[in-house]
């Protein structure tokens, strides 16, 4: 660690204070609660000094100085509120407003506009300019980005965040002086990653989004912070919701409160791909197949039918005749509940999910080598990062953002080994391109097998490059090692073994929002929650007060095999589309009784006998574990009448099957309970928890649909999950560790790992039903302008 910088003494508005040398005056003022206004200054981006709003008076300097570009100096005496300063601010605002249209009543930014706030605070309501304002019509630059030139105040924030932050460089400034204008890279349109950072960072309403513009006003929405439902990076997103005929409509997502690991970062999916929730094709009623056709049914009918059939199969054909497939997008509590439901209520270990990374092998490697996992925060702080496989720009946008900004702001070292020339190579200290599928051989080479090098060389990499990289890596302490699903099984152990002695931390990349959670919660036929083998079932049996079935269950492919052979009589699929993901034959699902819980008519749902319409992440509470192991809490934001959370559906089926719900959900046990914290905008009259509670006269107690009771149990059973619940409820991330309960050998099935291969603009089933993502892709394919709304 470098020595902490020297403290210097400064005086601001008569207040004496100290700040580390090098601190910008504007930041030093903020530290002692003095606000210096500014438009162009943005922490984390390069300095611009363009807006002149932060001019302050510094003693012994003849002219006013910009506080955003002036570092503090010993003995500096500053006045931020002198008459001269106040006058200059007012004048600057007048100039900014000279050409600014006064269309606040219809502007998207109205109510959350920095220019409005400044005008209110510093007063420049009177305009002395009588010239005609120069008007330009609004332009559409992409399905997502609209530009309203007259509103622009030329702070250059969008230009900088697009270039420095995103490394896209799609925005620039053309012309000069008064005529300056923000310009897109393709002259009249944008070709970019459509992340929308430029829109959210715009202090005024010059850049607006295709999905939100002219829809509502900020004060008409409720805002609920929750976890993004798309990739596994665990960005927080603030969901703006509004009452509608069918519940609570989601109007926008952003992260302007800079909460979470991602700060203000979100990708196109996190920001705009929430629209599938209101897709016309969403299933909002339980459907029962009669004579080959789906007929709408009531929840009572559907749940009764499912419970009866499950009971019948268990009694007649035995529990081994039922299979359960869980989801990568349901909460930890739902996944945990589902495996408990399979094991205790149905009595089978036939439970699996779509695996996108070999997490069991990772857990094994970590515990064998006493290594640790890295959180997404570590990626921004680490002195060096090694990335093997994957393309984070496409598949893990926040990870790519963290790496880029670590390199840019902390000058960290960054090593890439990939079979493709991925975009992140532009930040790399060293980039080594290896043949496709050679990632495992590279790990072999790292472990000391020099013969492997011969098979890795191609145009991009020489023997010398490889040796250089290995030597460099051996010299990196506190390295963060990140790898994609290209590495599985024993290769992961070898990699961990190579880097662990240097105090390295690791990240194993899985694809969906809660892929890691699904694995951690034990959606496996041969593993219990926390990657415990059946040899360690005693702990679970004690907690659950029931026996775990002894027989190892069938994995997903075996279940389909058993269905084909007529041995599987019922299949319960929760939020998953195995038919498409594993390219399985849907025809085999004709014989068994198939129940699918989903939002849309997927390839698997078509083959179902009963479809139960499910809520998705933004419509429920619970927790997600990011691919790094960062645990965060979801809050209910949107609501669609007549769909239910997977949690509630599972509990209801169990109840109808005659199972004691108290054994399944330990509500009322322990001291911690959800008193409404997780329910966001839904607390109160529309709150299903309270409706249930009221109906049973149990208000002061907790409900069986309360995921926090299950979280309690998870925390008791999985040592790595014993983190502060208060922190989770407060909206913070808590890093979980892969702590092994016992050192038994964990079975790993690399052949079952099927990466989703999603890009920046796809997101499994959800992406298929997102109008924004589809219009962005259509536009990229055809080059034609497509409106997102």
């Amino acid at each position: 660690m470098a020595d902490a910088p020297k403290l210097v003494n400064i005086t601001v508005n008569g207040k004496k204070t100290t700040a580390p040398a090098g601190t910008l005056l504007i930041e030093a003022c903020k530290q002692i609660g003095i606000e210096v206004p500014s438009f162009c200054y943005y922490p984390g981006l390069s300095l611009q000094g363009a807006c002149r709003m932060c001019l302050v008076e510094i003693e012994k300097m003849p002219k006013l100085q910009t506080a955003c570009t002036t570092p503090v100096a010993e003995g500096m005496v500053v006045n931020t509120e002198s008459e001269k300063v106040v006058q200059s601010r007012k004048a600057m605002l007048e100039i900014v407003l000279a050409n600014h249209p006064l269309d606040c009543p219809v502007c998207d930014a109205g109510g959350e506009c920095e220019l409005q706030d400044m005008t209110y605070t510093y007063g420049a309501a009177e305009s002395k300019f009588i010239d005609i304002k120069s008007h330009r019509d609004e332009q559409q630059w992409s399905p997502v980005v609209f530009f309203d030139r007259p509103r622009c105040i030329l702070c250059y924030r969008c230009v900088r965040v697009c270039g420095e932050g995103m490394d896209v460089w799609a925005l620039g400034v053309q012309n000069r002086g008064q005529g300056s204008v923000i310009a897109p890279n393709k002259q009249d349109h944008l070709e970019c990653e459509e992340c929308g950072m430029c829109i959210d960072i715009c202090p005024v309403g010059a850049l607006t989004s295709g999905s939100y513009r002219y829809k509502t006003r900020p004060w008409e929405m409720n805002h609920v912070g929750t976890v993004c439902t798309h990739c596994g990076d665990g960005c927080l997103t603030t969901v703006g919701v509004r009452r509608s005929d069918t519940g609570m409509e989601i109007v926008r997502c952003d992260n302007r409160d800079k909460s979470g690991i991602n700060g203000d970062f979100l990708c196109v999916k996190g920001r705009y791909a929430f629209d599938f929730a209101a897709n016309q094709e969403r299933i909002t009623q339980p459907l029962i197949k009669r004579d080959g056709k789906f007929v709408p049914a009531t929840w009572t009918q559907a749940i009764e039918l499912v419970a009866d059939k499950f009971k019948q199969v268990v009694q007649k054909d035995g529990p081994q005749a039922i299979g359960v497939i869980g989801s990568n997008r349901t909460t930890n509590e739902e996944n945990y509940l589902l495996q408990k439901f399979a094991r205790l209520v149905l009595g089978t270990n036939n439970i699996d999910h779509h695996r996108t990374a070999d997490f069991p092998a990772f857990a094994k490697a970590i515990s064998e080598n006493k290594a640790r996992t890295a959180s997404m925060r570590d990626v921004f702080e680490a002195p060096a990062v090694l990335l093997i496989g994957n393309d984070p720009t496409e598949q893990h946008p926040l990870l790519a953002w963290q790496i880029r900004n670590n390199v840019r702001l902390h000058r960290s070292k960054f090593y890439i080994v990939n079979s493709q020339a991925i975009k992140l190579r532009r930040q790399a200290t060293q980039f080594v391109q290896i043949p496709t599928g050679a990632e495992a051989r590279f790990v072999d080479f790292l472990s000391g097998n020099d013969a492997a090098a011969g098979t890795l060389t191609q145009a991009g990499a020489s023997n010398e490059n490889l040796s250089q990289l290995r030597d460099a890596l051996k010299g990196e302490q506190n390295l963060v090692v990140i790898f994609g699903s290209e590495l599985r099984g024993a290769d992961i152990s070898a990699l961990v073994k190579f880097a662990a002695p240097q105090n390295a931390k690791f990240i194993c990349l899985g694809d969906y929002a809660n892929s890691r959670g699904a694995a951690d919660m034990g959606l496996f036929p041969d593993l219990l929650p926390g990657y415990a083998t059946f040899a360690g079932a005693a702990r679970y049996q004690q907690e659950w007060g029931a026996d775990v079935p002894a027989l190892v269950g069938m994995d997903l492919k075996q279940m389909f095999g058993a269905a084909r052979d007529g041995k599987l009589k019922a299949l319960y699929v929760v939020g998953s589309n195995p038919v498409s993901r594993y390219a399985l034959d849907p025809f085999v699902l004709q014989a068994p009784f198939v129940v699918v819980q989903d939002m849309f008519m997927t390839e698997t749902a078509i083959a179902a006998d009963v479809i139960l319409p499910a809520a998705f992440a933004y419509e429920k509470s619970g927790t997600f574990t990011s691919t790094c192991g960062d645990l965060q809490m979801l809050r209910k934001a949107g609501d669609v009448v007549s769909v239910k959370s997977d949690f509630e559906i599972v509990v209801r089926i169990a109840e109808k099957m005659g199972y004691d719900v108290r054994k399944l959900v330990p509500f009322g046990k322990g001291l911690r309970a959800d008193m409404g914290q997780s329910r966001g905008a839904q607390s109160g009259e529309a709150d299903r928890h309270s409706v249930w509670l009221q109906a049973r006269g149990l208000e002061p107690k907790v409900s069986p649909f309360d995921p926090l009771a299950t979280l309690d149990e998870i925390q008791r059973l999985i040592p790595g999950y014993d983190v502060s619940q208060i922190n989770l409820v407060s909206g913070n991330d808590e890093h979980t560790q892969l702590v092994q309960i016992q050192n038994a050998s964990i079975p790993s099935h690399p052949e079952l790992v099927v990466p989703s291969n999603d890009t920046l603009f796809t997101s499994g089933t959800l992406g298929r039903y997102s109008t924004v993502l589809n219009s962005v892709m259509e536009r990229r394919a055809t080059g034609k302008e497509v409106a997102a709304d």
């Binding site: 460089w169 925005l171 620039g172 053309q174 012309n175 000069r176 310009a183 897109p184």
Partner: protein, 161 residues
């Protein structure tokens, strides 16, 4: 795309004159414009690629300088100054006269024979001899309408040779 041998040689030489590659941008744009008449989309892409810049960055720079253009000009680009000194001594009238005489709009279009275009420019540093104009790189000073006619005629003849 390929530039002329002469321009290629110049580019190779210029690279050594500056501490960073991108510093070559403005002079090279100017030389390219001299060769091509204006900065074509193709030339912009090529220059961006050679200097490790985006085409957008190159366009930003072009738009900043009024001497750089992305639309064709006539063989002789008549640039009339209308800044304060020239204005006081009839610069506006000279501009209007040249425009009418050549039958083209100011700042856009080329005369029918392709020889002339007319541009209104800021100060060209010839205030002592106002009103002044610049045709390509040649200065013409102490202008009167008659003198402008004479000058334009000489260029027309030159073009026909």
């Amino acid at each position: 795309m390929n530039f002329s041998d002469q321009l290629e040689a110049r580019f190779a030489d210029m690279l050594g004159h500056y501490p960073t590659k991108r510093s070559v941008l403005v002079p090279f744009l100017l030389y390219t414009q001299d060769e091509l008449g204006y900065l074509t989309d193709e030339a912009i892409e090529e220059i961006a690629q050679r200097l490790d810049l985006t085409a957008l960055e190159v366009r930003n720079v072009i738009s900043y300088y009024s001497m750089l253009r992305t639309r064709p000009a006539g063989k002789y680009n008549v640039q009339v100054c209308t800044n304060i000194c020239c204005l006081l001594r009839g610069g506006e009238e000279i501009l209007e006269h040249a425009r009418k005489k050549l039958g083209v709009a100011v700042n856009k279009g080329i005369s029918e024979d392709g020889v002339f275009s007319v541009e209104e420019v800021e100060c060209i540093g010839a205030c002592s001899w106002a009103p002044a104009m610049q045709v390509n790189y040649d200065f013409h000073e102490n202008l009167t309408e008659a003198k402008v006619d004479e000058i334009l005629e000489s260029y027309r003849k030159k073009a026909q040779q």
